[in-house]
Subunit: 113 residues, 2 copies
Amino acid sequence: MKQVILVNGALKLPRGKLAAQVAHASLGSFLLTSKSAQREWLGDGMPKVVLHCESEADLLQFESRAANSKLPVALVRDAGHTVVEAGTVTCLGIGPADDSAIDELTGELKLVK
Amino acid sequence: MKQVILVNGALKLPRGKLAAQVAHASLGSFLLTSKSAQREWLGDGMPKVVLHCESEADLLQFESRAANSKLPVALVRDAGHTVVEAGTVTCLGIGPADDSAIDELTGELKLVK
């Protein structure tokens, strides 16, 4: 089991802002996951991987693919009080779910360094 | 209501790694929070703030202060597969809890930029 969080790399968010948005996506997607999958993932040490996407359009595409695959998925739009415009898509959380289901969808993406 | 995540700034973690550790702390502390406080914070849009600490020693001190104040608190030690040594303290999640209780404890800390 694992969870991935896809980041809108076009925004070049500052470190702290990025971390908060990733945490938002992580918790949002977790809360949409079945209790049994939650428990299994928590027991595994809740593995998370943060992946780079080029644009908002990419994130929206992954959102619809994940939804088609019946995976828990949470798109994060920033409230826009500080760094970016209100409604900007910053991150997409997918899972926790089986590694294979996640990899089939996002296996080509690179880690955020 | 808000949640803060304190970061061990001495580690100078890469962006993606930092974001994953912050998400870990955020979810860990959330899961230790009462259902009623969880609901209230979720209803508020789950505000989160990522704050800078100088060292592991600082994080441990905030952990014990938060515990003394009966706040939910989750210390994250990295499994050490990749970037840092196993057992390194990377982050500390506190709350969600009332803004005033959080600010009393961490109001002096600066945002991670």
